[in-house]
Amino acid sequence: MNLLREITKMRAAILLLCILSFGQAEAFDFPAVAGWQTGPDMEKYDSDNLFEYINGAAESYLSFGFEELNVAEYRAGDASVLVEVYRHASREDAFGIYAQERPPKGPFKTVGYQGYQSGEIFCFVAADYYIKIIGNRIQSDLAGVLERFAVIFADQIPESTKSPSILRVFPRDSLRQNSEAYVARNFLGYDFFKGAFTAAYPGFRLFVIDAGSSNEVRKILTNYTRKLGVSPPDDTSATLKVDDPHHGMIICSWKGKYLWGGFEIKYGPVEEYVNTLGNRVKSYDAGIE
């Protein structure tokens, strides 16, 4: 009995050590910023209580694999800078929530993968972090102060400048700058479409999904055609064109674990672009870029 208890205690201790070690590796270490002092209160939120901090906006964050928010305030006299560090489950998720919130026209800065200033706030995405830097009572050079903070924070995140690699498959010709987005769930309003990267072109948008396997692609197509009441594509098909009652024409093409196509089609050479996208997806999949 004593032996059993000792073993149990040892297991618990090892488990605790593992948890603590993991926690330390994941915790965000707020950097020192010359001329600024961090306040005594650092706040931490997880998926259970994010709502307390950002109200109804929390649900969007949760849909992008939100894991943890750390908040710290830096002070210099009357001025303060609040830094919100959102950690998401993946680089894709962090990019997704950033892209959902970014203004269409910027102007953008190369901080982390990308950032922008809007009034008293500077937002940027770096790896699996989405960081917001909010200035308060900063009397001079607000933009400079915020960007300096952003650069310092970005510098301590490994591989901060890398974007989700699959974004490279979108054809560059006529691509609307900074239109790339990521829809983690319910793409097109259907729960079987998940993890869609999208980009805008004059008159239409393109999408690409890495479904994980050809079987998953097949399941998505089956669900979609069933929903629309049309026949599912046969095994030899590689393209499906449908008139979706909610979206108008949708084009889907697929190969292996990838599904790509066009939507929000109003005008323009969408089929040509879907073909180009397909070729780029195949090269990407083969590691030829």
């Binding site: 618990a12 906006a57 319910n186 979206h247």
Partner: protein, 405 residues
């Protein structure tokens, strides 16, 4: 052209059938969106209620747009009879309001009801009192930005966003900012939203004699839902319009581990049983979810199965250990009480004895469990009978796994 109320009489089957029945086809057939919903069947009228003294008549189901980034979903909601869209200055850093602006741009102004929310600035975390002296000025600036994004000259309801306490609700400078916005014609009505200390905030809204609408969290899983319900009734009787949010708790699941989906129709109907709730703003993001909510738009009576589903979801909540761990130092035998309560929930809440069994094996609980431990000192925050539950669940340890599966 789309006409106000044109779709209100459309029943849910018409929506589903007209959206999908035969509409799909080969490229080139085009999509005529919206009005087709209204043309087929008007056998049932959407249930509407009057939003207190505002006099605005709204269907009992509205749309919380905060999660949606799909304009076609918002269009579908409006075309299917939903009239009221709820957003906020901060949602998606303004992109949400812009998206709504695109959707409503070509619709008659009197065919929709738009609410947005603007925060009152910094506040004291303990008291909920607003502390930012510049907030009223910023409030007005933010409202102008919101109107620009929405492409509107005025919103129908302007809320002070996320009020935390009575003192916050009664903060004079912000009430003045709301009244000023109303006087300038930038909003028809003013209100506040709350999801913290809701009864206190709702009663403060009554006390203020200023607010006309309250947007409050309200659902069957709130620990204090009875008190919230009473405050809503008081506000309703005082003439305030009541909009309920967070009506479908837990992200649509009955349990925290997202194993048991909630009956969302039942959850919504439960809220609407309170006749003083005038409308609800579920945050659907798929067309299927929209259809589920539209069911409620035409029938708010809970059927037997829905009552059963709600009871089961409430029971599930009763099984759920919050993991506060106040029990750990209290237990004479250093038992991992939260984990054991989780195993108990697996077995009796989820009816998943395998998960309970595997967790127990992982925990490696000494045989006998609480056994003859004299006088259990554990006082569970959720009032679980910890000793009985442990002694009950560890009996699984004595059964071979193949008999459990």
């Amino acid at each position: 052209m789309y006409q106000r109320g044109e779709c209100i009489g459309m029943d849910r089957r018409s929506f589903i059938q007209s959206a999908f029945g035969g509409a799909a086809g080969l490229l080139g057939s085009g999509t005529v969106y919206g009005r087709t919903y209204c043309q087929e069947n008007e056998e049932k009228a959407a249930i509407s209620r009057t939003l207190g003294k505002t006099g605005i008549r709204v269907p009992v189901v509205s749309m919380g747009v905060m999660n949606a980034d799909n304009p076609n979903l918002v269009k579908a909601a409006l075309d299917a009879g939903i009239v009221h869209l709820d957003t906020a200055h901060k949602y998606q850093r303004g992109r949400n309001e812009e998206m709504i602006g695109e959707v409503i741009r070509d619709r008659p102004r009197d065919s929709f009801v738009i609410a947005t929310k603007i925060p009152g600035g910094d506040f004291d975390r303990d008291s909920g009192a607003y502390t930012d002296e510049d907030a009223p000025e910023k409030f007005s600036e933010y409202l102008d930005i919101s109107l620009q994004r929405l492409g509107l000259k005025y919103v129908d309801i302007l809320y002070l966003h996320s009020v935390k306490s009575r003192v916050g609700a009664l903060h004079g400078p912000l009430i003045d900012a709301l009244l000023k916005a109303k006087k300038m014609g930038k909003t028809r009505f003013i209100g506040l939203s709350t999801h913290t200390r809701e009864p206190e905030v709702i009663r403060a809204a009554i006390e203020s004699n200023a607010y006309e609408v309250v947007l409050t969290a309200y659902n069957f899983k709130q620990d204090h839902h009875e008190e919230v319900g009473r405050a809503i009734e008081e506000a309703g009787k005082a003439g305030l319009g009541i909009v309920a949010m967070k009506t479908i708790p837990g992200g649509g699941y009955a349990d925290k581990e997202k194993q048991k989906p909630l009956n969302v129709r039942a959850a919504l109907k439960w809220v609407l049983k309170n006749e003083h709730v005038h409308t609800t703003i579920p945050g659907f993001t798929t067309f299927d979810q929209l259809q589920a909510d539209l069911d409620v738009l035409y029938d708010i009576s809970l059927n037997g199965q829905e009552v059963k589903d709600l009871e089961e979801a409430m029971t599930m909540q009763g099984f759920y250990c919050q993991g506060c761990e106040i029990c750990l130092p209290q237990c004479h035998r250093n038992m991992p009480v939260p984990d054991l309560m989780r195993a108990y929930m697996y077995a009796y809440g989820y009816k998943n004895r395998v998960a309970a069994y595997d967790l127990l094996k992982e925990l490696n609980i000494p045989a006998g469990g609480c056994g003859d431990c004299p006088g259990c000192r554990v006082a569970c925050a959720k009032s679980f009978n910890v000793r009985d539950n442990i002694n009950n669940i560890i009996r699984l340890n004595d059964i071979p796994r193949e008999f459990v599966a």
